[in-house]
Amino acid sequence: MTWTHVADIASAVCLLLGVLLALVAAIGVVRFPDVLSRMHSATKPQVLGLLLVLLGVGLRLRDLSASGLLLLVALSQMVTSPIASHMVGRAAFRAGQVRTDLLVVDELSEVLKAEPDPPGAP
Protein backbone atom coordinates (compact mmCIF):
# COMPACT_ATOMS: atom_id res chain seq x y z
CA MET A 1 0.00 0.00 0.00
CA THR A 2 2.20 2.78 -1.25
CA TRP A 3 1.15 6.40 -1.63
CA THR A 4 0.30 5.86 -5.30
CA HIS A 5 -2.42 3.41 -4.26
CA VAL A 6 -3.77 5.95 -1.80
CA ALA A 7 -3.75 8.64 -4.50
CA ASP A 8 -5.55 6.34 -6.93
CA ILE A 9 -8.27 5.54 -4.39
CA ALA A 10 -8.69 9.21 -3.49
CA SER A 11 -8.90 10.04 -7.19
CA ALA A 12 -11.61 7.40 -7.73
CA VAL A 13 -13.64 8.77 -4.81
CA CYS A 14 -13.33 12.34 -6.14
CA LEU A 15 -14.34 11.29 -9.66
CA LEU A 16 -17.40 9.39 -8.44
CA LEU A 17 -18.52 12.26 -6.20
CA GLY A 18 -18.19 14.74 -9.07
CA VAL A 19 -20.13 12.47 -11.42
CA LEU A 20 -22.88 12.00 -8.83
CA LEU A 21 -23.20 15.78 -8.53
CA ALA A 22 -23.57 16.02 -12.30
CA LEU A 23 -26.33 13.40 -12.27
CA VAL A 24 -28.16 15.12 -9.41
CA ALA A 25 -27.95 18.43 -11.24
CA ALA A 26 -29.35 16.88 -14.41
CA ILE A 27 -32.30 15.47 -12.47
CA GLY A 28 -32.84 18.91 -10.93
CA VAL A 29 -32.71 20.64 -14.31
CA VAL A 30 -35.41 18.30 -15.60
CA ARG A 31 -37.66 18.38 -12.52
CA PHE A 32 -37.54 21.98 -11.28
CA PRO A 33 -40.32 24.36 -12.32
CA ASP A 34 -38.70 27.54 -13.67
CA VAL A 35 -35.45 29.08 -14.91
CA LEU A 36 -34.14 30.37 -11.59
CA SER A 37 -34.62 27.09 -9.72
CA ARG A 38 -33.10 25.22 -12.65
CA MET A 39 -30.08 27.52 -12.44
CA HIS A 40 -29.85 26.70 -8.73
CA SER A 41 -29.32 23.03 -9.48
CA ALA A 42 -27.21 23.73 -12.57
CA THR A 43 -24.45 25.42 -10.57
CA LYS A 44 -23.50 22.28 -8.65
CA PRO A 45 -21.56 20.40 -11.35
CA GLN A 46 -20.28 23.64 -12.84
CA VAL A 47 -18.19 24.49 -9.77
CA LEU A 48 -18.04 21.81 -7.08
CA GLY A 49 -18.50 18.82 -9.36
CA LEU A 50 -15.94 20.10 -11.84
CA LEU A 51 -13.44 20.84 -9.07
CA LEU A 52 -13.86 17.30 -7.70
CA VAL A 53 -13.40 15.74 -11.14
CA LEU A 54 -10.33 17.85 -11.89
CA LEU A 55 -8.87 17.01 -8.47
CA GLY A 56 -9.44 13.34 -9.22
CA VAL A 57 -7.73 13.63 -12.61
CA GLY A 58 -4.80 15.48 -11.05
CA LEU A 59 -4.40 12.86 -8.32
CA ARG A 60 -4.44 10.12 -10.93
CA LEU A 61 -2.07 11.72 -13.46
CA ARG A 62 0.44 13.00 -10.83
CA ASP A 63 2.15 15.21 -13.40
CA LEU A 64 3.16 18.81 -12.84
CA SER A 65 2.35 20.21 -16.30
CA ALA A 66 -1.01 18.43 -16.37
CA SER A 67 -1.77 19.85 -12.93
CA GLY A 68 -1.07 23.35 -14.23
CA LEU A 69 -3.50 22.85 -17.10
CA LEU A 70 -6.16 21.45 -14.75
CA LEU A 71 -5.67 24.43 -12.42
CA LEU A 72 -6.19 26.74 -15.40
CA VAL A 73 -9.44 24.94 -16.30
CA ALA A 74 -10.68 25.21 -12.70
CA LEU A 75 -9.78 28.88 -12.45
CA SER A 76 -11.40 29.82 -15.75
CA GLN A 77 -14.58 27.93 -14.85
CA MET A 78 -14.75 29.53 -11.41
CA VAL A 79 -14.29 33.01 -12.90
CA THR A 80 -16.67 32.64 -15.83
CA SER A 81 -19.59 30.62 -14.45
CA PRO A 82 -20.80 33.32 -11.99
CA ILE A 83 -20.79 35.85 -14.84
CA ALA A 84 -22.75 33.54 -17.11
CA SER A 85 -25.24 32.73 -14.33
CA HIS A 86 -25.69 36.42 -13.59
CA MET A 87 -26.37 37.23 -17.24
CA VAL A 88 -28.85 34.34 -17.60
CA GLY A 89 -30.72 35.23 -14.40
CA ARG A 90 -30.87 38.89 -15.30
CA ALA A 91 -32.14 38.19 -18.81
CA ALA A 92 -34.71 35.72 -17.45
CA PHE A 93 -36.08 38.22 -14.94
CA ARG A 94 -36.27 41.14 -17.35
CA ALA A 95 -37.80 39.03 -20.10
CA GLY A 96 -40.55 38.00 -17.69
CA GLN A 97 -39.71 34.31 -17.84
CA VAL A 98 -39.59 33.89 -14.04
CA ARG A 99 -42.59 32.48 -12.18
CA THR A 100 -43.33 35.30 -9.75
CA ASP A 101 -45.70 33.15 -7.68
CA LEU A 102 -42.69 31.09 -6.58
CA LEU A 103 -40.70 34.09 -5.34
CA VAL A 104 -40.66 34.85 -1.61
CA VAL A 105 -39.28 38.38 -1.87
CA ASP A 106 -39.33 40.48 -5.04
CA GLU A 107 -37.74 43.89 -4.65
CA LEU A 108 -36.40 44.15 -8.20
CA SER A 109 -39.77 44.53 -9.92
CA GLU A 110 -40.61 47.75 -8.05
CA VAL A 111 -37.21 49.23 -8.86
CA LEU A 112 -37.52 48.25 -12.51
CA LYS A 113 -40.98 49.80 -12.69
CA ALA A 114 -39.76 53.06 -11.12
CA GLU A 115 -36.68 53.51 -13.29
CA PRO A 116 -36.11 51.54 -16.48
CA ASP A 117 -32.61 50.66 -17.66
CA PRO A 118 -30.45 53.45 -19.04
CA PRO A 119 -29.24 52.93 -22.62
CA GLY A 120 -26.08 50.86 -22.68
CA ALA A 121 -26.86 48.90 -19.53
CA PRO A 122 -25.37 45.40 -19.61
Binding site: A12, V19, Q46, L69, V73, S76, A84, M87
Partner: protein, 97 residues
Protein backbone atom coordinates in the same frame (compact mmCIF):
# COMPACT_ATOMS: atom_id res chain seq x y z
CA UNK B 1 -9.88 2.23 -12.21
CA UNK B 2 -11.65 0.69 -15.19
CA UNK B 3 -14.65 -0.09 -12.98
CA UNK B 4 -14.75 3.48 -11.65
CA UNK B 5 -14.51 4.84 -15.19
CA UNK B 6 -17.33 2.56 -16.33
CA UNK B 7 -19.64 3.56 -13.48
CA UNK B 8 -18.78 7.23 -13.94
CA UNK B 9 -19.35 7.23 -17.68
CA UNK B 10 -22.66 5.38 -17.22
CA UNK B 11 -23.91 7.96 -14.72
CA UNK B 12 -22.73 10.77 -16.98
CA UNK B 13 -24.63 9.23 -19.90
CA UNK B 14 -27.83 9.24 -17.81
CA UNK B 15 -27.19 12.88 -16.90
CA UNK B 16 -26.56 13.85 -20.52
CA UNK B 17 -29.77 12.13 -21.66
CA UNK B 18 -31.81 13.99 -19.02
CA UNK B 19 -30.22 17.27 -20.11
CA UNK B 20 -31.00 16.58 -23.76
CA UNK B 21 -34.63 16.08 -22.69
CA UNK B 22 -34.61 19.53 -21.07
CA UNK B 23 -32.91 21.11 -24.10
CA UNK B 24 -35.59 19.63 -26.35
CA UNK B 25 -38.58 20.49 -24.16
CA UNK B 26 -37.53 24.04 -23.35
CA UNK B 27 -39.86 25.90 -22.86
CA UNK B 28 -37.77 29.08 -23.04
CA UNK B 29 -34.41 29.67 -24.65
CA UNK B 30 -32.82 30.39 -21.27
CA UNK B 31 -33.84 26.95 -19.99
CA UNK B 32 -31.99 25.48 -22.93
CA UNK B 33 -28.94 27.64 -22.21
CA UNK B 34 -28.86 26.49 -18.58
CA UNK B 35 -29.17 22.85 -19.62
CA UNK B 36 -26.48 23.33 -22.27
CA UNK B 37 -24.14 24.76 -19.64
CA UNK B 38 -24.64 21.68 -17.49
CA UNK B 39 -24.15 19.49 -20.57
CA UNK B 40 -20.76 21.12 -21.15
CA UNK B 41 -19.84 20.45 -17.51
CA UNK B 42 -20.86 16.82 -18.07
CA UNK B 43 -18.65 16.68 -21.18
CA UNK B 44 -15.71 18.08 -19.24
CA UNK B 45 -16.26 15.47 -16.52
CA UNK B 46 -16.42 12.69 -19.12
CA UNK B 47 -13.19 13.75 -20.80
CA UNK B 48 -11.56 14.05 -17.38
CA UNK B 49 -12.60 10.51 -16.48
CA UNK B 50 -11.20 9.27 -19.78
CA UNK B 51 -7.89 11.05 -19.07
CA UNK B 52 -7.80 9.58 -15.56
CA UNK B 53 -8.56 6.05 -16.72
CA UNK B 54 -6.02 5.88 -19.54
CA UNK B 55 -3.50 8.25 -17.90
CA UNK B 56 -3.15 10.22 -21.14
CA UNK B 57 -2.79 13.99 -21.09
CA UNK B 58 -3.87 14.39 -24.71
CA UNK B 59 -7.45 15.48 -23.98
CA UNK B 60 -6.63 18.06 -21.30
CA UNK B 61 -6.46 21.12 -23.62
CA UNK B 62 -9.97 20.25 -24.81
CA UNK B 63 -11.19 20.77 -21.23
CA UNK B 64 -9.90 24.35 -21.33
CA UNK B 65 -11.57 25.04 -24.68
CA UNK B 66 -14.89 23.58 -23.45
CA UNK B 67 -14.82 25.68 -20.27
CA UNK B 68 -14.39 28.84 -22.36
CA UNK B 69 -16.99 27.76 -24.93
CA UNK B 70 -19.77 27.34 -22.36
CA UNK B 71 -19.17 30.81 -21.00
CA UNK B 72 -19.23 32.53 -24.39
CA UNK B 73 -22.33 30.64 -25.51
CA UNK B 74 -24.51 31.32 -22.49
CA UNK B 75 -23.48 34.97 -22.19
CA UNK B 76 -24.19 35.72 -25.83
CA UNK B 77 -27.59 34.02 -25.79
CA UNK B 78 -28.56 35.72 -22.51
CA UNK B 79 -27.47 39.09 -23.84
CA UNK B 80 -29.80 38.93 -26.82
CA UNK B 81 -32.84 37.43 -25.14
CA UNK B 82 -35.75 39.77 -25.78
CA UNK B 83 -38.88 40.16 -23.66
CA UNK B 84 -41.85 37.93 -24.25
CA UNK B 85 -42.26 34.16 -24.22
CA UNK B 86 -40.43 32.05 -26.76
CA UNK B 87 -42.29 30.21 -29.45
CA UNK B 88 -42.86 26.62 -28.52
CA UNK B 89 -43.25 23.87 -31.09
CA UNK B 90 -47.03 24.01 -30.66
CA UNK B 91 -47.38 27.78 -31.02
CA UNK B 92 -48.23 29.57 -34.20
CA UNK B 93 -44.76 30.94 -34.88
CA UNK B 94 -43.70 33.03 -37.81
CA UNK B 95 -41.14 30.51 -39.00
CA UNK B 96 -38.27 31.50 -36.72
CA UNK B 97 -36.94 28.91 -34.35
Amino acid sequence: MIVVAGIGLGLLTCAALLLVVRITVGPTMLDRVVALDVLIAVLIAGLGIEAAATRHTTTLPILLVLAMLGFVGSVSVARFTAAGPDEGPGDEGNGRS
